[in-house]
Structure formats: structure tokens, C-alpha cells
């Protein structure tokens, strides 16, 4: 696939922060990656990492927010100039700092095992930025 052709590809989805939307957003990402010629394993790994970030929004992001807050989840994905995939999963809630509970806390661990880079920006809602090499 010609790098020049695919660099304009972009996926961006925003929907209510409810558990039933996580799978469809993941499916959209999988179709997007399939169209960009990603192999099966990196495709599965990337959607797994994105799925964890999305699930965290549903589980935690709006736990401490007022009822009137617009509760959304958002995913954007695009290739950068180096051919790496950048995925940002964001919400308008507030990041919950807490000590790790036993038998929990696997989400971020899984993302770290898969993504080449992970940064979490909590200045305005939570933005989980992940960069993936094409290989995985």
C-alpha cells in the first residue's frame, strides 16, 4: 500500500459513554484498520488496547460528574507521517486517581503492553493517546 494514499485516512467517532457503544466503536476501528492493510495480530492488539481505554470511560470517567454533564466517549485514529497509527480515546469526565485494587487495574497494563507509547492527559477530561507501530 502506498503511504501517500493512506495518510489522509481518519476515523473519528463520538457517542454516548455507555457500555453498549464500546463494541461498535471497536468494530469501526477494526474495519478502518482492515482497510489500511493492517495484519490480523496488530489489528486485534490495537482494537484490544482501544477497547480498554473505551471501557475505562464507561466505568470511571463520569463517576464524579454532575448529572447534567454531557457523557460522551470519543475515538479518533489516523496514520502519522512515519506510518504509525495514532489513536486518541477521550472523554469529558474526570480522571480518577486511586490505588490499585487487587484483581483490577489490568486495562492500562494491557494498553502499555501493546502500544509503543501511551500518554494520559487529564487537563480537560481525559485524553488517552496511544501510538502503535505497524508491526504490533
Amino acid at each position: 500500500m502506498h503511504a501517500r494514499i493512506v495518510t489522509r485516512s481518519q476515523l473519528s467517532i463520538r457517542c454516548p459513554a455507555q457500555s453498549q457503544y464500546v463494541a461498535p466503536v471497536r468494530h469501526a476501528l477494526a474495519g478502518f484498520l482492515q482497510a489500511l492493510d493492517f495484519e490480523r495480530q496488530p489489528l486485534e492488539d490495537i482494537t484490544t488496547a482501544a477497547g480498554e481505554a473505551l471501557a475505562n470511560i464507561v466505568e470511571h470517567a463520569y463517576a464524579r460528574c454532575r448529572k447534567t454533564t454531557e457523557r460522551y466517549l470519543e475515538l479518533t485514529a489516523k496514520l502519522d507521517r512515519e506510518g504509525r497509527l495514532r489513536v486518541v480515546v477521550s472523554d469529558g469526565g474526570s480522571f480518577v486517581e486511586r490505588r490499585k485494587l487487587p484483581g483490577r487495574g489490568f486495562g492500562l497494563r494491557i494498553i502499555r503492553a501493546i502500544a509503543a507509547r501511551l500518554t494520559i492527559d487529564t487537563s480537560d477530561g481525559t485524553r488517552v493517546r496511544m501510538i502503535f507501530d505497524r508491526g504490533s
Binding site: 463494541a23 471497536r26 482494537t47 484490544t48 471501557a55 489490568f106 494491557i110
Partner: protein, 111 residues
């Protein structure tokens, strides 16, 4: 007290993910009458950490009740998820049903 008997087989397939959390929990509830449990997850096409948490809880409950549990995992995404989560040794995992059944039969014979 009723004697526990036989190996119970619980089969879950498709996408084990946050949208099916309650269903997963319900499927794993109440195996009190079984001597051992085989969790046949061979047909799972996708799993996430929410599913792992439910599985861990189930295995911890079972351990407290001296009820051995074996997992059958066949799909690569699920197998890698367990690795990424650092849980490879937290579960007794098999790639096929028959060795899992043999293992559980062995376990229940010993006790």
C-alpha cells in the same frame, strides 16, 4: 451437606466485553453443586479486561470452595490478552477441551 458431584461445563462464546458484563457474571454464578468446572471459552472471538476480572473473581471463589477450574482458550486475541494482563499463571489454561477434562478428572479423583 450435599456431596459435590461431576464436572460442570460452562460455555461462553462471542465477544466477552464490557457490554456483556452482567451476562458474563450471571453465567459464572452458582456452580456450588459441581466438584469442578470447565470454562469452555474456545469460541470467544474477543475478550477484554472486564471479562478477565469476572473470570478472576470466579476462580478465586472456586479456590475458596476447593473447586478446581480449568479454562479452554483457543483464540489468539484472548490468549495474548491474558499474557498482556500478566495473568498467564493466574489461570489453569488449556488449548483443547480433552486435556482440560483429564486434568479436572485427576483433580477430583485426588480429593
Amino acid at each position: 451437606m450435599k456431596k459435590k458431584e461431576g464436572i460442570k461445563i460452562i460455555r461462553l462464546g462471542g465477544e466477552l466485553e464490557i457490554g456483556r458484563k452482567d451476562e458474563i457474571r450471571d453465567s459464572l454464578a452458582s456452580s456450588d453443586d459441581a466438584a469442578a468446572v470447565l470454562l469452555d471459552l474456545g469460541e470467544v472471538t474477543y475478550a477484554d479486561s472486564i471479562a478477565l476480572t469476572e473470570l478472576l473473581r470466579f476462580c478465586a471463589d472456586s479456590a475458596r470452595n476447593q473447586r478446581p477450574v480449568a479454562l479452554v482458550i483457543k483464540t489468539p486475541q484472548f490468549a495474548r490478552l491474558v499474557q498482556y494482563a500478566g495473568l498467564a499463571t493466574a489461570f489453569k489454561i488449556f488449548g483443547e477441551s480433552s486435556p482440560a477434562l483429564e486434568y479436572l478428572t485427576e483433580c477430583t479423583r485426588e480429593s
